[in-house]
């Protein structure tokens, strides 16, 4: 069955809310408006306003409310209209959701999902175009997921809802309309497993979310020149599946990491460190990172294009490590 990324997320939440009465959806415009990006279309009609809660524009308040509810065993799904607004909820996420289990010596858990789009779309400017996943990956106690395809989005979101921990789930505005094959009926994908999306022998390219599509396009083009790229989709950013990356590097000996976030202290720096620690002797060249530029996102189109990784830069990075 071919569905959009948006529809895959909708199915995942709908199935989980049907199977478990403890699951509820809370966020801005998730109910009667059907979701700012229409991910929760039809939810308030099926589950009612008691389980699909439209909130005022108070991210700290409603995210904290969800943490408190999760402490009693409910399983909230918090929709952030975008992760830019999630910055307002960082105190709740970092100081409460991520730490309560540890601080309580295991007495309490915070099983919840915080999801919504991250990264840039088209010319939304500095405050609406940020890839903040590295921030969340830095915090012990959180799991972080960033799927690229409808298939992965559905299976991973279902696993996230069933997880006993707080899971940060990154979507992307430019992915919502993309289409892909999913399985009919019930399936889940384990958190913490990367996926080889294209097999190749010359270079490994690791990417996630929107950048995975870029990596696949670059691989296709390079293939025409006789360069076979293996594309590894990280899918889960924390815990990171270093094993799958290392296996790929054992085969190719070369690694390029593609990420949309800022370069300095970005996620790719950690991925590189993890791979160096595990597979240094298999590497035939230093790891190269393709990243977003270290600037607030400019509005003007040509400048925005410069600030975000593109196919040409991925191709040039692959050639650099060869």
């Amino acid at each position: 069955m071919v569905v959009t990324y948006r529809e895959a997320l909708n199915q995942a939440m709908r199935e989980e809310m049907r199977r478990d009465g403890r699951v509820f959806l809370i966020g801005e415009e998730v109910g009667y408006y059907q979701g700012a990006f229409k991910v929760s279309k039809g939810f308030v009609e099926e589950f009612g306003p008691e389980r699909v809660l439209d909130t005022p524009i108070t991210e700290a308040g409603f995210t904290g409310l969800a943490v408190g509810a999760a402490m009693t065993g409910l399983r909230p799904i918090v929709e952030l209209m975008t992760f830019n607004f999630g910055i307002l909820a960082l105190d709740q996420i970092v100081n409460n959701a991520a730490k309560i289990r540890y601080m309580s010596g295991g007495q309490l858990s915070v099983p919840m999902v915080i999801r919504g789009p991250g990264s840039a779309a088209h010319q939304l400017a500095a405050q609406h175009s940020q890839s903040l996943e590295a921030w969340f990956c830095h915090v012990p106690g959180l799991k972080v997921i960033a799927p690229a395809t409808p298939y992965d989005a559905k299976g991973l979101l279902k696993s996230a809802v069933r997880d006993e921990n707080t899971v940060i789930f990154f979507e992307a505005q430019l992915l919502y309309g993309t289409k892909g094959e999913i399985e009919e009926g019930e399936y889940t994908i384990p958190i913490g497993k990367a996926d080889v999306k294209r097999a190749g022998s010359h270079v490994t390219v690791a990417a996630y979310s929107k950048m995975l599509l870029l990596a696949l396009e670059a691989a296709e083009e390079l293939s025409r020149e006789g360069i076979e790229v293996e594309v590894v989709d990280l899918r889960t950013l924390k815990p990171l599946d270093v094993e799958t990356l290392a296996q790929s590097v054992h085969k190719t000996g070369r690694l390029v990491i593609v990420e949309e976030g800022w370069r300095f202290a970005g996620l790719g720096a950690q991925v590189a460190e993890s791979v160096y620690a595990k597979a240094f002797h298999s590497l035939d060249a230093p790891i190269v990172r393709v990243t977003g530029e270290d600037v607030p996102m400019p509005y003007a189109r040509p400048l925005e294009d410069l600030a975000i990784p593109d196919r040409a830069r991925v191709i040039s990075a692959v050639k650099q490590v060869l």
Partner: protein, 324 residues
């Protein structure tokens, strides 16, 4: 309510336990047996004890970093509390929380939180969960005057009032947010309840140095919230006799010795003691016996803490995640 027939000694006992426990904690801090930040509750005992006397054991309680009093008033084992302050494996939180993060899930004591204003949304979430499950518990959420102007507090007040959630916000107005007096914290500082009223909440002030007044008001408030499922805001006017934390002197920097001495005349323990003696429901002999008993409880808590092991090194990575 008059104290003529009722035995008020249990209330005195609960307050005296907190007083002695806190004094002992300060002593242990001076001996470096307790480290980190230690915020004492001395002077405010009537608020915790009066409020908790009005609750059911399945009601939820949540507090800030000045949490020893609420935890003990909730009935947590003083031994486990002291062991937690000592950072021992036998502590309430296995030594990982410390003074500011006491949690006793078995008693629905959902914790002490150390970011000012940050636990108010959690309290609203606990109340939401009660509402979601169609339960009839209530949530008691304790915080200081310093939390009132914070954004998270106002987001919480609005959500609780908007969705009619059974949470009672208990503001312990001890007149200072650390070293800043309340009149330098807030534009409208004489009646903090005005803020709650502006969010559409019912709100009342009470003399927080009078445990009977607190308990009587809270009995009424808890019943109303339990029955009608709306939030309530209670401002308890109180005073902390000690500094903000052990790092802060009781007087000399931002308040005078005279001011503290004046406040000490309203000592909630002294006031209840007088009431009890006057009403005849307890005698000097009763107090002597009760105080001896509590001294023994506190002494035993220190012995227990001292004899308990520190957490094993393997505990470092335990409970970061639920799955390992």
């Amino acid at each position: 309510m008059n104290g003529k027939r009722e035995n008020l000694l249990p209330l005195y006992r609960d307050m005296f336990l907190i007083r002695r426990f806190e004094e002992k904690s300060a002593e242990m801090y001076a001996l470096a047996k307790i480290a980190g930040f230690l915020h004492l509750y001395i002077g405010q005992e009537a608020v915790a004890v009066g409020c908790l006397a009005a609750t059911r054991s399945d009601d939820y309680v949540i507090s800030s970093y000045r949490d020893h009093g609420h935890c003990l008033a909730r009935g947590s084992d003083p031994k486990k509390v002291m062991a937690e302050l000592f950072g021992r494996a036998t502590g309430l939180c296995k030594g990982k929380g410390g003074s500011m993060h006491l949690i006793d899930a078995e008693r629905n004591f959902m914790g002490g939180y150390a970011i000012v204003g940050g636990h108010l949304p959690l309290a609203v979430g606990l109340a939401f969960a009660i509402h979601y499950r169609k339960g009839d518990q209530v949530v008691l959420c304790f915080f200081g005057d310093g939390a009132v102007p914070s954004g998270q507090a106002h987001e919480s007040f609005n959500l609780a009032a908007l969705w009619n959630l059974p949470v009672i916000f208990i503001c312990e107005n001890n007149r200072y947010g650390m070293g800043t007096p309340v009149q330098r914290e807030m534009s409208l500082y004489t009646n903090l309840i005005d803020r709650a009223i502006s969010h559409g909440m019912r709100a009342e002030q009470v003399d927080g140095m009078d445990v009977l007044a607190v308990r009587d008001l809270m009995t009424r408030v808890v019943a109303a919230v339990r029955e009608r499922h709306h939030p309530y805001f209670v401002e308890a006017l109180t005073y902390r006799f000690m500094g903000h934390s052990m790092a802060d002197p009781a007087h000399g920097v931002y308040r005078t010795r005279e001011e503290v001495e004046e406040a000490r005349k309203q000592d909630p323990l002294g006031r209840l003691r007088e009431t009890i003696l006057r009403s005849g429901c307890g005698s000097e002999v009763d107090f002597k016996q009760l105080e001896r008993e509590i001294d023994e409880v506190v002494r035993a808590s220190v012995t227990f803490a001292e004899e308990s092991p520190f957490p094993g090194m393997s505990a470092l990575y335990e409970d970061v995640y639920a799955d390992h």
